[in-house]
Subunit: 195 residues, 2 copies
DNA sequence: CACTGTGTAGACAGGTCTGTATATTTGAGG
DNA sequence: CCTCAAATATACAGACCTGTCTACACAGTG
């Protein structure tokens, strides 16, 4: 009693959540297994029973991160939408919220791709796929503001603006790139519509 | 004789160039000192005589990288300019050339910032400064195509497009983001001029 | 010639890393 | 109550990492 032993397998979940937090904050190469099990309060063998290797854990962490990030981001967007903002404006407002959130250190999937270096690593491939899904989500939002046809032409450019804003927010340690991206995106949308 | 002993200190230069090549290709955490001295054909003590620690070497490598990159990029731009292209168009053509160059793995300064994680690390600070200088250089080019006044307003947006194109080129392993960025940049310039 | 500065070769210390092995404890279901 | 799956604690192997130390080779200069 009282030791609050892990019931069934929230152990796995605790490992993934702890690793996600540490990997995002300090990088996947910088954080070792011993550190993860210490902070997750889990035995090393428990980790290796759930994940054959650190690479497997990394992949699982990114999968978890995608779900968590999507949920968080949709949440931020709806909050702005419910205040009367259109969805594209709400997207950029959410982007800025994210940049200003404590512990912000850029896009974890970009970071993973950079840190792992190897494009063939499963986690690199997953990160590339995440970006495709993210840009698809953004395109859907753009369609509401720009219409189906013009969205197809401006969406790739706006995706670049967003990726650039993320990177620049990290490099310059400032969230103002979100505003620059929003203004440019709106300019592109109105220009395309007018055509 | 004949061993082709290092005359004076091209030793230091050989260390920096080797480290730059390895760091860019595989990451600064992934490449160890032993690997660098082996490929540079240099004794470990020679390295530690020139650089007190690996962090110092990293900083020196980034300084070297900036000069090398600037030279390479200016070179690519002039080649396109001499074929009759305007400087802004030449910039994006050079960007695409870079993306398609063998061994391309994104912006080394972004990569350094991501890998080091610590914003206060000297190499992180240097990387942030490099980005400022790079964007300033880009703004100067934009001024030629858009005029002084409108350049000030569009340059930050075009910088985001360029950063986004770099990241996307890595993630998608494709150079087409350079074309998307160019088209969007031209659209922003013409729209701003018209106003 | 002797001195000095630079590079070389290689061993080594001390830490950290991933992953394994072992032996034990715990809790839930039949 | 007994069994079995899952978690625990801990030690350990073997690799790799940064950085130091020592002893030596060589070239140029006074």
């Amino acid at each position: 009693m009282s030791k609050a032993r892990a019931n069934k397998s929230d152990t796995r979940q605790r490992i993934v959540e702890t690793a996600e937090r540490l990997f995002y904050a300090e990088g996947m190469r910088a954080v070792g297994i011993d550190r993860i099990i210490a902070e997750a309060e889990v035995a090393k063998m428990s980790l290796y029973n759930h994940f054959p290797s650190k690479d497997d854990l990394i992949l699982a962490v990114l999968q978890y991160r995608e779900e968590k990030f999507n949920g968080m981001f949709e949440n931020l967007i709806s909050r702005h939408v419910s205040k009367g903002m259109d969805r594209l404006g709400a997207f950029f407002a959410a982007l800025k919220d994210w940049f200003e959130s404590p512990g912000f250190r850029g896009c974890m999937f970009i970071n993973a791709r950079v840190e792992l270096a190897d494009a063939k690593h499963p986690a690199s491939k997953f990160s590339a796929c995440h970006k495709e899904r993210f840009h698809q989500m953004l395109q859907t939002i753009i369609e509401e503001s720009a219409g189906m046809n013009s969205a197809e032409t401006v969406a790739p450019a706006i995706s670049l603006l967003v990726e650039g804003a993320i990177v620049t927010a990290v490099m310059a340690q400032s969230s103002e790139s979100a505003d620059v991206a929003r203004e440019a995106a709106l300019a592109l949308v109105t220009k395309t519509k007018r055509k």
